[in-house]
């Protein structure tokens, strides 16, 4: 080993040592920053809710919410998403107890439930488009598709993230970085759950009541 190599190795050790000392601070900063990001996402959804509220009555001869919403499907979607949020919580609890395999198992369950949610939503969208009630039909449908679709897009990102997390934990175990990222993922997933509760109430339940 020549001198340069020794220097690199000692540098690497030094890096690891300092990084370890700063780790908890990074974790705190990252969670805070991610939380702030989620709040910006909340403003984004709030804007979409406002848009939907303004356009809801503008059916211009097209169907209203009462005519197109299938509450049975929505119930299934809601159950799938709420349970997946619960299993995600269990994954975090297992992570804190350092049970790698349990974390992986709960991740799989959360992923599958999220997938069920997304598939039901896509079926609903496909059906509406097939019968000619797409976002082109009316202001109401534009607002509906974009609000619910934006949430669906977020779910899709969450699913991709979960798949990557699964692979990472499978390969590297519950390393510090993985713990940090899994925590952020769970924040993201719970956040989408909360947004869905509002969509469920304001769009579907309120819409199904009719006027």
């Amino acid at each position: 080993m020549n001198e340069v190599d020794i220097k690199t190795i000692s540098h690497k050790k030094l890096l690891n040592r300092i990084y370890k000392a700063e780790e908890s601070k990074f974790f705190e900063t990252a969670s805070f920053g991610f939380f702030v990001y989620l709040m910006t996402d909340l403003v984004l959804f709030a804007s979409l809710f406002a848009v939907y509220a303004v356009l809801e009555a503008n059916t211009v001869g097209g169907p209203s919410g009462q005519q197109i919403f299938n509450l049975n499907n929505v119930l299934l979607e809601t159950l799938a998403l709420l349970i997946s949020s619960f299993t995600m919580g269990l994954a975090i609890l297992s992570m804190k107890k350092n049970h790698r395999n349990k974390v992986l198992g709960y991740l799989v369950i959360s992923f599958l439930l999220g997938l069920v949610f997304l598939l039901i939503e896509m079926t609903e969208f496909n059906h509406l488009i097939a019968i000619g009630d797409s976002w082109r039909r009316s202001g109401f449908l534009s607002g509906f598709f974009v609000l619910v679709g934006t949430h669906g897009l977020h779910i899709m990102v969450g699913l991709i993230w979960m798949a990557i997390m699964f692979y990472k934990i499978l390969k590297f175990g519950l390393s510090r970085v993985n713990i940090r990222r899994l925590t952020l993922l769970s924040m993201f997933w719970h956040f989408l759950d909360i947004v869905w509760i509002f969509i469920f109430t304001i769009v579907y339940l309120y819409g199904a009541l009719g006027r």
Binding site: V36, V51, L55, N58, S138, G139, S142
Partner: protein, 662 residues
């Protein structure tokens, strides 16, 4: 044909400009780029540029890049302004001026968009990057990689808007692209799409910066620096970033919906199909009004630092200053309807928003008086930075009073969309925002570059700007009262407006001379940099901790992070003949590595935006995948840091003391 339309979307040979003005502008931009590239190759500086600047996560370097780009965009927007002034000064009676109607529309749309999103925002984020980490004793921002990525998204937006000169055309629907004019039916060209994707990309960059700096200020302050011990510039940035976080998502949503209307045929803002175009105006101003406070609050912060430093006094009423900032932050979300009192929302709604608009003037007035009281009985040291403050405080008050006049809905019905309005908001943004950032740039320049700017040329620059400004915009107040509307490209000779428009044109030329003088000041100061060297690191007898480190600020900022016990920590330490930190406090640290991926992400975003504008769908998918994959590669590096040993830091400190680095 089908193949070509899949491959190239809406691109064809028809897209290149035919009129000589646009073509000339595009050719000169491309030519300038080629010249710079040739010089870089000749002097073999590509590697230096790549390693030291383009991929460097050091907040000071990012700040300088923001400012350079913002100044270039300021010049581009300024050329637009000169063309508008030339048009309005000459298009009277039988003459139809120098620009065709469609070029004129594109020019005023581009001017507004560029000046707000790229000149003003760029100078703001530049200054914030330079100063905030130094002022709060944080070695870098909370997320350095994100910071550089934000910059490259900003740069991608800037490149995209300039591409519209040469490929296709820019929006002709004004800087905020109100529907239904901006809908596909009335604006079928790609102009509005350029506008949308420019702002979408740059806007997401700004939003990420907002999250970044909010987190930095909340989480990374030096030990002992409670919020109420934080310097006012950092406070103003905290409030501005708070506004960014709440306002920019609304912008993203609004222009995304406009994009959906134009591209996928939805009905959000269309005149038919159940859309609601006034919803667009509400949404865009729910972002747009906080946006003007996003720009002005950091300028207020700059003046708070400068006035205290050059009066050799503690800032008068620190607490009221903070509360005024907080009040403006909250109130700025409750005034947006004053941009369109004429919508017809009714007397109650207009009354509410009119009163709220008058109320928000109160905390601003508090700040003005606090600055004046800070100077009262102070030992005032006249400096170019303080000159900008004097210009600001007089002009900004005049503009503010004009704003309060327009806050009265009944008056606004007369003044709406007149040149009076144009004069008002230019007074706020030029003499408020720009003067503030120029002052801040003059003030903190030595800290970043290690030498002061030439004082006399700085004052000359100031006078050219102020005189030019008064000549360019005071006639517009009068023209507004006479009934001249904004964006007017021709008027009858018997109205007698031409002399005033000519004066305004002369004013614009004087401002352009001011810009040239500013550039000259840079050149002269650079050549005399050894004479103007800042040997102590504290050229102005400063009060806050950024002046406690040597100039130019080393890449690790602080050799050791000081413990803060006072608002003016450095000032107190100087008075007690103490050092904030000693060499014994220096330890090994880690700093973020370079991040070439940020640059790649910027390129991906640029290609993505371009493909979206021209409907080249395969390229949209490819660039999106490239974006995600690059991000993954970056996230795979779990410890993107490198070590700086205490030994290196102490060596560097010694070098800086002997004048190294300028």
């Amino acid at each position: 044909m089908v193949f070509a339309s899949v491959l190239l979307g809406k691109l064809s040979w028809q897209v290149f400009p035919k009129d000589i003005v646009t073509l000339g502008a595009f050719v000169s931009i491309v030519g300038g780029g080629i010249l710079v590239a040739a010089m870089l190759t000749y002097f073999k500086k590509w590697g230096y540029l790549w390693r030291q600047w383009l991929t460097n996560t050091d907040h000071k370097k990012i700040g300088v890049m923001y400012i350079i780009l913002a100044v270039l965009m300021l010049i581009r927007g300024g050329v637009d302004a000169l063309m508008m002034r030339a048009q309005q000064a000459s298009a009277v009676g039988a003459s139809h001026g120098v620009l065709s109607a469609s070029t004129f529309q594109q020019v005023f749309s581009a001017h507004g968009t560029i000046m707000i999103f790229f000149a003003a925002m760029g100078l703001m984020f530049g200054l914030i990057n330079l100063v905030v980490p130094l002022q709060i004793g944080s070695r870098d921002v909370a997320f350095p990689f994100l910071n550089l990525t934000s910059f490259w998204l900003f740069a991608a937006g800037a490149i995209l808007i300039n591409l519209s000169l040469g490929i296709g055309s820019f929006s002709a629907a004004g800087w905020l692209a109100y529907p239904p004019l901006s809908e596909l039916k009335y604006s079928p060209s790609v102009g509005v799409d350029y506008w949308i994707w420019t702002l979408e990309i740059a806007g997401i960059g700004s939003l990420m910066s907002g999250i970044n700096f909010l987190t930095t200020i909340i989480k990374n302050r030096a030990p002992g620096m409670t919020l109420m011990k934080m310097p006012l510039f950092s406070w103003s940035v905290l409030c501005a970033m708070f506004l960014v976080i709440f306002a920019f998502p609304i912008l993203t949503v609004t222009i995304s919906l406009l994009f959906l209307d134009r591209t996928l045929g939805s009905h959000f803002f269309t005149a038919s199909g159940g859309g609601n175009m006034m919803m667009y105006v509400n949404l865009i101003w729910a972002w747009g009004h906080p946006e003007v406070y996003i720009l002005i609050l950091p300028a207020f912060g700059v003046f708070s630092e400068i006035v205290a430093t050059f009066s050799r006094k503690k800032l008068f009423g620190y607490r009221t200053m903070v509360w005024a900032l907080a009040a403006i932050t909250v109130l700025s979300f409750s005034v947006w309807v004053h941009h369109f009192f004429t919508m017809g929302a009714g007397a109650d709604v207009n009354g509410f928003f009119g009163i709220m608009t008058m109320i928000i003037a109160i905390p601003t007035g508090v700040k003005i008086f606090n600055w004046l009281f800070t100077m009262y009985k102070g030992k005032i040291h006249f400096n170019a930075a303080l000159y900008w403050f004097f210009g600001f405080v007089i002009l900004f008050t005049i503009g503010g009073v004009a704003g309060v006049i327009m806050a009265i809905p009944a008056a606004d019905f007369q003044l709406h969309n007149s040149l009076f309005l144009v004069a008002h908001f230019h007074t706020m943004i030029v003499s408020g925002v720009l003067f503030g950032y120029f002052a801040g740039f003059t003030y903190w320049f030595p800290k970043i570059f290690g030498y002061r700017l030439d004082e006399k040329l700085g004052i000359k620059t100031f006078y050219l700007w102020v005189i030019g400004f008064i000549l360019a915009f005071f006639p517009l107040y009068i023209l507004g009262f006479l009934g001249a509307t904004r964006r007017i490209n021709h008027y009858a000779a018997n109205l007698g407006w031409q002399p005033l428009f000519v004066v305004a044109g002369i004013g614009a030329v004087i401002i352009a001379a001011g810009v040239a003088m500013g550039v000259w000041q840079q050149i002269v100061s650079y050549r005399l940099r050894h004479q103007y060297r800042d040997k102590t690191g504290d050229p102005w007898n400063g009060r806050t901790i950024e002046w406690s480190i040597p100039s130019p600020a080393p890449f690790y900022d602080f050799k050791a992070v000081p413990v803060i016990n006072d608002r003016d920590a450095f000032w107190v330490a100087k008075k007690n003949h103490q050092e904030l930190v000693s060499d014994d406090d220096v330890v090994d640290i880690i700093l973020p590595k370079r991040a070439p991926i940020s640059f790649v992400l910027g390129i991906c975003a640029l290609i993505f935006g371009f493909a979206m504008i021209w409907h080249i769908w395969w390229l949209v998918i490819v660039s999106l995948i490239a974006f995600v994959v690059s991000l993954m590669i970056r996230l795979n590096d779990e410890k993107p840091y490198e070590v700086v040993t205490a030994e290196t830091i102490l060596k560097q400190e010694k070098l800086l003391k002997s004048g190294h680095g300028i």
